[in-house]
Symmetry: D2
Subunit: 101 residues, 4 copies
């Protein structure tokens, strides 16, 4: 099952600067060869369900190993059976509508 | 790795009444013998990471089989290494503070 | 416009124990006379749009005053024009389906 | 109070294709002169609290006027008192860490 997710990982108990932890999670996603798009509030990720969720679990493990005692993550998960769609398709679909096409 | 999640499943393309789909997902969680607490915006779920996420995947499969062409799910995921904590502990912790203890 | 929200407030940079901050936010919601239901991952809140969102803003202000330098909040927001519905109606609707009614 | 949000609007009861509704909401944000960044799972928005939340309310009103009987929205909200930060700063901060800086 193909899945598109949006992943926001918030380590708790490590102070206010979180970017080093977010970068570590990005490296996990990249190492898993998943398609990703970083944005200011998380990362869009696309792939097969089991691979995507194995990478999310790995992010939690890596951040705990880095010293985060507590992690709060928000994952939006989308699956559809009516058509194949990529992350870029989703953005283009909205942009077309904005352009009046 | 123990995990506490909050799961909100929104089937898309099946009209405005979603409770039958939410109930089907509840049955999946119960069949997986996970600890759950239903609320008006989703379900708190507690268990081992792999079992919890296998159940969430099963929810998507079951809802697609019921005819939902598209599913949008929001999952909040919490793990911590500093202490063991249950869903009820979390609620009691806030309630104690409210009671001034 | 009537709204039902689910509110999860995560103060960042104040250590791992967050319940005191969550309790302070609960007090803000109660002081605003909103209907609330606390659960392990947040609080369901029901009311008029402007009152609910004024209370959420007040939660951010109060938590910053308590010393939280950074706050990450997740709000799920539901509005509908097809029927009036309460938080309890939503739970009962799923429970009826589970009971086979 | 300055705020950075991530906004995902899901109209329910209007079929599977949601991009026209998402585009209508984008137009509302643009008309409000807010800084926005569209991604595959929502839109990052930056501005003053009251202006940002007035625009989110307007999105709900516009989508209901377009015929959506029910709307489910997820908003991530970030405020901080320790430093000023833009949407682009957040992305650059992670990218710097990825580049080993």
């Amino acid at each position: 099952m193909h899945v598109m997710v949006d992943l926001t990982v918030v380590p708790i108990g490590v102070g206010v600067s979180l970017s080093g932890y977010v970068a570590a999670c990005e490296k996990v996603l990249t190492a898993a060869r998943l398609t990703t798009r970083l944005h200011a509030y998380g990362t869009n990720v696309e792939g097969e369900w089991d691979e995507v969720f194995a990478a999310i679990k790995r992010c939690h493990e890596v951040l705990h190993e880095m010293g985060a005692p507590r992690i709060f993550t928000v994952v939006k998960v989308g699956t559809r059976t009516d058509k194949a769609q990529t992350l870029d398709d989703k953005v283009h679909s909205v942009e077309s509508k904005l352009a009046g096409r």
